[in-house]
Structure formats: structure tokens, C-alpha cells
Amino acid sequence: MPEVLKAPLVVEFPFTRSLGPVQSAFLTGLRERVVLGVRTSDGRTLVPPVEYDPVTAEEIRDLVEVAPTGTVTTWAWNHAPRRDQPLGTPFAWALVRLDGADTALLHALDAPGPDAVHTGMRVRVRWAEERTGAITDIACFEPYDDKGGRDDHGGDDSLAEPTGRTGEFEDPITGIVASARLDYTYSPGRAQTAYINALADRRNVGERCPSCRKVYVPPRGACPTCGVATSEQVEVGPRGTVTTFCIVNIKAKNLDIEVPYVYAHIALDGADLALHGRIGGIPYDQVRMGLRVEPVWAEGARYPDHYRPTGEPDADYDTYKELV
């Protein structure tokens, strides 16, 4: 068994999400340092607010302000914060029922240690300095002493009072960008590892099904017809036949290839499955089914850059019709 191939794989996406009237009011409120809930028809106040009653599914949009102070309903001490979590120093995750609300909001609670946190403790919102209309406009919660005076964080007590605001704001936000990044380590498995290793020697290696004898390239380790593992390695190509193609007219982002260009299915000689490749070395409007092609390797590349005509006569349709 050769060494397992591995490579970093970063999946990153900035989803742009639109907001409904209730979410818009809530997140715009956070930008203005106002916490809004939504009232259900039976008189409960939900914070964070939702657009539909979780019990009755009735649409709700009666916004009410709640206090930026509240009570911890449960908590968990996070001694090793992970990337992108609200605080970089150890903190408590907490569900906080804000004063005036009947449900609890999840956020971080900045406290010196687990001994300083308990269910039932009083906390208040600490606002982020830069606010954009997002849940992270609440930087975190912090301990709050109701008895008056400044707490040990030196917070401004005026911010612990409701503001009397409604859900009406100038310039309400209508959407958020939800960015996310996850870092994976990709490993392609046994069959594809063998394929990639062979490509490094400029060889195309497929695998033959022990049952139906078809040769798959690139091999994925299984025959999709028989549902059994493939294992016998078979060298195919390097030449092949264009079985079908399309002409690409729109340039992909970051792609250094002039349009229009041709993208084709190519049945390498000896293979029973066509693979994908770009066709070069011939005007795009002269590419045709049956065209005989061979790979062109760029210096130092681990896979063919493109395929070009070999100059042979076109293949007869009957020789590749099963592979179209």
C-alpha cells in the first residue's frame, strides 16, 4: 500500500441571506443597541424573535422591546475557545432569558472562570463597538449587579435600561452575509491514489471490473454496474477519441483560458468510460465526435493540460458509440 495522498481542502462560502420583517427589525435593533422580541398571540415574548410561532405556526410580527439585562438559564464553561467563536479567551456559553422575554438567547458570557458563573446569575449585554446588524453586534454578555453601581467590568449602567424603541428604524438592514470557512484534509482513497500517482509518471491507469471486465478511468474503486470492488490496474491511452463535446463561451472566474474553448468527453484507448478534458491545438469550431486526440503535458504539471488532435483519421462511430 503506497502512502496515502493528502491535501488541504478549504471550503469557504459567504452566503448572502435575506431577512424577513422580524429578523430585519431584530438585527437592525442590535445595530442601534436595542433588543427586540416578538409577542405571540398567547402573550409570550420570544427573544430572539422568529416570524412564526413555534407552537402554532401562526405568523407573528408584534415587536416589543426587552431589557438588555437578563438571567442565565443554563451555561457551559468553554476553557478552549475555537476559531470564530465570540471571545478568544475562556468564556461561558450561556442561554440568557432577557428581562421581559419568555425564551432564552444563546451567546457567550465573559466571566473570569467557571466559579463566577451559575444558573440564575444576572447578566447584561456588552455591545460590540462596531455594529453592522448581526448577532455578533452583541459582543457577549457580562455579569451584572442589579443592586446598583458599576460592576467589576466598569460598564456603563445607562446601557442596562430599555430605550423605549419600537421596531421602526431608519435604514433597516435587509440581509446578512453569513461567512463560513471549514478546513478539511482531503484523501482520495485507494483507487484514486493509484490513479493520481500514475499521472505523476504521465501514465493513465484505470481499473478493470472483475465481473463485467469493463475498465474504468479514473477509477473510483467500484464498478457502478456490478457494485463490486475494482482492483486490477490497466494502463489506458495515451491516445483517445472525442465521444462528445461542448463549446464554452463564458469565462470562468480565475480561469486563464481564452473563450470559446472546447470541453470534451474523451474515451482513452482501452477504457470503457470517457473522462473529461479540454481540447486545444485546433479551432474550436472544427472539433468533432470521433476526433482522435492525445494528451499535452505542461512542464511540472501532475495532469494533462489539454488534449490535441493526433492527425489520425477520425474513429468510426461504431467503435465508440457505447461510450457516448
Binding site: 452566503f15 413555534p54 444563546l106 444558573t119 446578512i176 453569513a178 471549514l182 478539511y184 491514489t193 457494485g227
Partner: protein, 354 residues
């Protein structure tokens, strides 16, 4: 209460699972899956072409690759075309879909499989992407943190304490010594806090694995299995996504699913509970009204092996296998998905009277 019984008798007739491991990086998903597919087929003597319906469960987010389940289909011989479906859920929900398909009479046999490769990515972070994207996901609360909030709520309510949670962990891993597929077996230290009050021992291992079952209807089931595990009922329910809306110390969705599946009509002797965290077993035992007469998680449960997206299907498979072996006459299997037991499925399985 009157419950409508299924119109056809449908049973789990075969079950197979991989050895669950921290990593299976030398295998692609289909390479990991194929041995268990072949094993359930071999148990029944069926060929892929004999299967009436195929349904799978998995999640692209685990491996970080789009449409990864389509490649796994190569392992079931999807050419010439077969009747197939996929759920972006634990395989237990794929089994539910296959069960309803057999109930319609459109097929007499079904192959259900699921797999999860958690090793390529940071699982605790990956699972945050299933949370509410407006109010919760931007904070990246990881799966252990959310379970820890639930555990603290249980401790505050007096429903458990840390020694009791450690006892759940110890019992599960001791039971897993009899399960050659389990990832964590025998004496495992409770360890340090991961997110307090949960310690390493309270959390499931992160690993890769796959499972498959075959369902068959009526006489077909009797032909394929000496003692079929008849599915007397399956139901699944979901709760509000807002964690702060729910009472985390209870699981009304589990209780309702169990009621609709007929779990409370007669006592069960075995319960395979999908409780990835020790504290969740406390919640589930209460919701399902399980007393000490019921054998809970003789396989070791999810604390011994928790291949995400397969661990729920494995609970059904383990419960069925006990009936196949004659070790149980009436078993309950439970699967969960989402944070803090958000979604819950309950199946009730029975063997023929002896």
C-alpha cells in the same frame, strides 16, 4: 388510544457495519461502504439487481465535498437504473423512507445504507453549519458546547450529576467490549473537561464508519431471515430549532415519536438509544419511560462508536440483530439528529413469538 397498524409486515432481515475507526483516510467513501453492502447481501443471498428500493443517508459537510453520495452509489450497482433515494440525514431516516416505500407495496425488499467520514474535517465546527444561520451559526457554538448546556440544565434540575454521567460512560464502554466494531471499548478515563460539565468520557469518539440493513416484506422476510425483526412502528418528530424555546431537560419529540410508533403499548426488553453524550441518555430514558428492567445499549451505543449519519441506523441494526439472535423479543431503537436531541426517530421491533 387506537393506533393504525402497518398494512404490511415489514422486517429488518440483515444488518452489517464497518469497524468504526478514528480515520479511514486510505479509503474513499465507496471503498469504506462496499464491504458492508456486500455483507448484508451475502446474509440474505440477494444480489443488487434483486433489491426493490435503495435509500441512503449521509452528509456532504462531513467530507467537505458536494454530492458525495452520488459516488457512493457506485457501490450498489446503479446501472442499469435502479429505484433509489437519498436523505441528507442519518440512515435511520433513510430506513423510514424505505419502510414507507415497502408499505405502499411498490417494492418487497429495500437496501438502506449510510456512512460518515468525520476524519477529514473539524467535526465540532462542521456541525455548527446545521444551526440557525441568522442567530446561532455566526457564533460557532460547537456540538460539545451545545450538549454541555443541556447537561448543565439537567444537573441544575437535579436529574443527574457528574458521577452519574461517568457511570453512563463506563457502562457503555464496558458493554462495548462485546462489540468488535466499536471504536472505544473497555475502561476509558473520564478525562478533562471538554466543555464543562462534559468531560472527554461524556463525549462520543469522532470516527468514520458505515452501516447497511436490508428490509423485506411479509413472506419474503421469512425466506431471507430465520427470525426477522418485524417493524411494528416507526415515527419521527422534531422540535423548535431555537434552543432557548425548548426545555432541554426533556424530549417531548422522542416521547411523541415513541407513542406513535407504539412503544408504550407493551414493555420492551432492549433499547438501543442514540445518545452521543452521556447526559442525553438521561433525557431519553425519562422521555421513553425506560426503567432498569430494560437493557439499554448493549452494543455500547454512540459513546462507543458514533459515525455521524450512520450511528442512528446502527441503533436500529443492533436492535434488529439482537432479535435475529434470539436475545430480544421486543426492542426499541432510537435515532437523533441536530443539536441537543432536536430530531428524534423511534422504531419498535419484534421477533416472532417463541
Amino acid at each position: 388510544m387506537t393506533r393504525h397498524l402497518p398494512v404490511r409486515d415489514i422486517a429488518v432481515v440483515a444488518f452489517a457495519q464497518t469497524d468504526h475507526r478514528r480515520t479511514s483516510e486510505e479509503l474513499s467513501e465507496v471503498e469504506m461502504l462496499m464491504p458492508v453492502l456486500h455483507e448484508v447481501l451475502a446474509q440474505t443471498g440477494l444480489k443488487t439487481a434483486d433489491i426493490g428500493f435503495t435509500c441512503s443517508g449521509s452528509s456532504d459537510y462531513l467530507a467537505g465535498r458536494a454530492f458525495s453520495f452520488t459516488l457512493a452509489l457506485d457501490g450498489v450497482g446503479a446501472w442499469p437504473p435502479i429505484s433509489e433515494s437519498h436523505v441528507e440525514m442519518d440512515g435511520a431516516w433513510a430506513l423510514y423512507e424505505a419502510w414507507t416505500k415497502l408499505l405502499t407495496g411498490d417494492a418487497d425488499t429495500a437496501l438502506v445504507y449510510s456512512y460518515g467520514k468525520s476524519s477529514p474535517g473539524p467535526l465540532r465546527d462542521v456541525l455548527t453549519r446545521q444551526l440557525d444561520p441568522y442567530y446561532v451559526a455566526p457564533l460557532w457554538p460547537d456540538s460539545v458546547a451545545l450538549a454541555a448546556l443541556q447537561a448543565q440544565a439537567l444537573i441544575d434540575a437535579g436529574a443527574t450529576d457528574e458521577p452519574a454521567l461517568a457511570a453512563v460512560a463506563a457502562r457503555s464502554r464496558t458493554d462495548a467490549t462485546a462489540n468488535s466494531h466499536a471504536q472505544l471499548r473497555g475502561s476509558v478515563p473520564q478525562g478533562e473537561y471538554v466543555v464543562r460539565p462534559l468531560r472527554t468520557g461524556d463525549c462520543p469518539p469522532i470516527g468514520d464508519g458505515a452501516a447497511a440493513v436490508i428490509l423485506a416484506a411479509g413472506e419474503r422476510a421469512r425466506e431471507l431471515c430465520a427470525r426477522p425483526a418485524w417493524i411494528r412502528g416507526v415515527d419521527h418528530r422534531i422540535e423548535a430549532h431555537g434552543l432557548g424555546v425548548r426545555d432541554l431537560t426533556d424530549s417531548p419529540s422522542t416521547r411523541l415519536a415513541a407513542e406513535k410508533a407504539g412503544a408504550f403499548e407493551r414493555p420492551v426488553d432492549t433499547a438501543e438509544l442514540h445518545a452521543p453524550f452521556t447526559s442525553q441518555e438521561v433525557v431519553l430514558r425519562k422521555a421513553l419511560k425506560l426503567d432498569d428492567s430494560v437493557r439499554v445499549n448493549p452494543s455500547g451505543g454512540a459513546l462507543a462508536a458514533n459515525p455521524v449519519m450512520a450511528a442512528g441506523l446502527i441503533r436500529i441494526g443492533e436492535a434488529a440483530a439482537r432479535i435475529h439472535r434470539g436475545e430480544s423479543d421486543r426492542a426499541l431503537a432510537h435515532a437523533t439528529s441536530g443539536p441537543c436531541l432536536q430530531q428524534n426517530l423511534v422504531a419498535v421491533l419484534e421477533g416472532d413469538p417463541r
